[in-house]
Symmetry: C2
Subunit: 301 residues, 2 copies
C-alpha cells in the first residue's frame, strides 16, 4: 500500500521516520508544511522541511528537535558580537543548508527541486516534498496584532494570545509537482502528530481535495502536547485541548484516528474509526512501532 | 602628523597594523580597496576590508593571511556535501561578518556605516574606511577573456595571463564619507605594500586628487612579492617586476619611496626621495618597526 504522510516539524518528522523504516522508498511520500518558511539574514529557511530531512537522514539533533546533531555555533556567536539578530538559532552546519538552498533558488531552482537534490546528497531514499513551490506564509492573529509565524513562534516564544490564523498566498499555491499524484494514488494519507492549526492545516489547504482514506495521529496526549504550542492554541481559541478536539478539528476528512492509551476513554466520542495505542515516540524503535500500528490500522479500514 | 594609509589585503593590513601601534586613533585613517568585493552565496564579501579589520582587531589568521584565527569550517564543508560552490573558502566566524553586513546593507546601511559599527564591535579604535560606498569592481583582462577579480584570483588561482585591468563603476564612485577630508588634512599619505595594479590603483582612481605628500612602500622585494600576484602581473604586462617598476608605476604622485635593503642598488634610479630599510614584516614588532621607519621618513621630507 502506498502511503502519503503529511508532516510539520518535530512530531511529524518522528512518525515520518518510523514510516520510512518500514516502507520501500517508492511506497512513501512525505509532504511537508512550508507555512513556517521565512527569510532571515538573507537566507531562505524552511524549518519543517529541514527537520523532516535531517530526521530521515540521521542528521537531526535529538535533544532540541530542530537543527543538526554535533552542531557548532560559531557563526551565530559572531553575528551576536556584531549586534546582529540572534533570536533564531542557526548552527554552522545548518547555515550551509540555508545558504546553498538560497543560492540555488536565486539561480532558478524550485524549492522541491532543491529538496530533491539535498535528499539525494543526504542519502534519503524516500520522497520528501514541500507542500508547494509557491510561498505560503502562516500569519498568527494575536491579541498584540498579526505576527509572522517565526516572529510569534521563536522571537515571541508563543507568548501572545492566539485569535486565529491566516495562510498568506494559500489560494494561489499549487501543490508541489508529484504531490497531487501521490495523494491520488495513496492507499492511505497519514496526518502525522503535528500541530493541526499551523502545521497540518496549511498542507490541507494547499492539497484541497483528498478522496482516499485519511488517518490522523493525535499530537495531543492527555490534554498536552509533547512539544510545541498546539494545546496552548486550543485553549486560547476557547477549545479544551484533547485528542477529541483534534479529531473534531479534522472532522469528516478522517476515516481513522489514532489516540494515545491515556486518552482511551475519548474514543467513543470520536466519529471516525479509532486506534488506541502508545503514541509517544522517545526513540527510533518507538517511531517504527507506532508506524507499524498506524499501517496495520490503515490496512484494516 | 595625521596619516592616511591606503591598503589592500595582507601586506597592506600588516603595515596598517604597524601604524596603528604607533599612532593615536585620531591620527590614522586607513582607506581600503573594495575593488575585490563580490557577492557570493548571496553574501556581500569585502576581502580586503575584512583582512584589514581582522588584522587590526587581532582576529586575523596569521598562517593564511586571510580569514579568522581559530576558525572552523563546518558551513563550507556542508555546502560542499550539497554540491555547492567551495572554491571561496569561508570560515564559520567569517561568514558571520558577511551575513550581518549583507543584512545591514539590505536594510539600508552603507558599507562605511557597517564598517564603523563592526570596528566598534571588534574594539578597533582607528578609522577604517572602504574607499567608496559605491560598488567598484576590478575586472581582469586575460588571455582567456575578462574575468571578475575573485574569479581570476581565487577560482582560477591567477593562472590566466593578465593583459590589463578595468575598474567597473570607478568613474561614478565617490570616496566614502570622511575619506576626502582625511586625505586633505593628512601630513602624509602612505601607500602600503599592496598590489599596485589591483589593490592601490582602484583607491587612487576613486580618490583622484592628492595634494599632500605621498610615500609608497614597495610590495616587491628582490623582484618577488611576499604574497599575491603583483610580480607575476608585472611580468605578464611586459615589465620586469622590481621596486623600481613600482616606483615608476606611481610616478609623479610620489614624494617618497621605501624599498627593501636587498633592492638598495635601485634607489639611484628612482625619482622620488627614497628610504632603504628592511621592509619584510614577519611579526607584529616588524610591522611597528617598518611603520616607525616610514613615519620618520615622512617627517623628514
Amino acid at each position: 500500500m502506498k502511503i502519503v504522510a503529511l508532516a510539520g516539524g518535530v512530531g511529524g518528522a518522528k512518525l515520518a521516520h518510523g514510516l520510512a523504516q518500514l516502507l520501500a522508498p517508492e511506497d512513501l511520500t512525505i509532504i511537508v508544511n512550508t507555512g513556517d518558511d521565512f527569510e532571515h539574514l538573507g537566507m531562505y529557511i524552511s524549518p519543517d522541511l529541514d527537520t523532516v530531512c535531517y530526521t530521515l537522514a540521521g542528521l537531526a539533533n535529538p535533544e532540541t528537535g530542530w537543527g543538526r546533531v554535533n552542531e557548532t555555533w560559531n557563526t551565530i556567536a559572531n553575528i551576536e558580537k556584531l549586534g546582529g539578530p540572534n533570536w533564531f538559532r542557526l548552527g554552522d552546519q545548518d547555515i550551509a543548508t540555508h545558504l546553498e538552498r538560497t543560492r540555488r533558488m536565486k539561480a532558478g531552482q524550485s524549492l522541491s527541486e532543491v529538496t530533491k537534490d539535498f535528499c539525494s546528497a543526504w542519502g534519503i531514499k524516500h520522497t520528501i516534498l514541500p507542500m508547494s513551490d509557491s510561498p505560503v506564509r502562516t500569519m498568527v492573529d494575536t491579541d498584540e496584532g498579526e505576527l509572522a509565524f517565526q516572529e510569534y513562534f521563536v522571537y515571541r516564544r508563543c507568548e501572545p494570545r492566539v485569535k486565529g490564523f491566516r495562510f498568506d498566498g494559500v489560494n494561489s499555491a499549487e501543490p508541489a509537482p508529484g504531490a497531487r499524484e501521490a495523494i491520488d494514488s495513496a492507499g492511505a494519507i497519514i496526518i502525522c502528530p503535528s500541530n493541526p492549526w499551523v502545521s497540518v492545516d496549511p498542507i490541507l489547504r494547499v492539497i484541497q481535495k483528498i478522496n482516499n482514506p485519511v488517518i490522523a495521529v493525535s499530537p495531543i496526549i492527555g490534554g498536552k502536547t509533547v512539544k510545541g504550542p498546539a494545546a496552548k492554541m486550543y485553549t486560547e481559541l476557547g477549545i479544551e485541548p484533547s485528542a477529541l478536539a483534534v479529531a473534531e478539528h479534522y472532522g469528516n476528512l478522517l476515516s481513522g484516528f489514532v489516540l494515545d492509551t491515556v486518552d482511551g476513554q475519548l474514543s467513543d466520542r470520536i466519529a471516525a474509526c479509532t486506534l488506541t495505542t502508545n503514541t509517544l515516540m522517545n526513540n527510533s524503535s518507538d517511531r517504527a512501532r507506532l508506524a507499524t500500528d498506524v499501517l496495520n490500522f490503515a490496512g484494516s479500514l
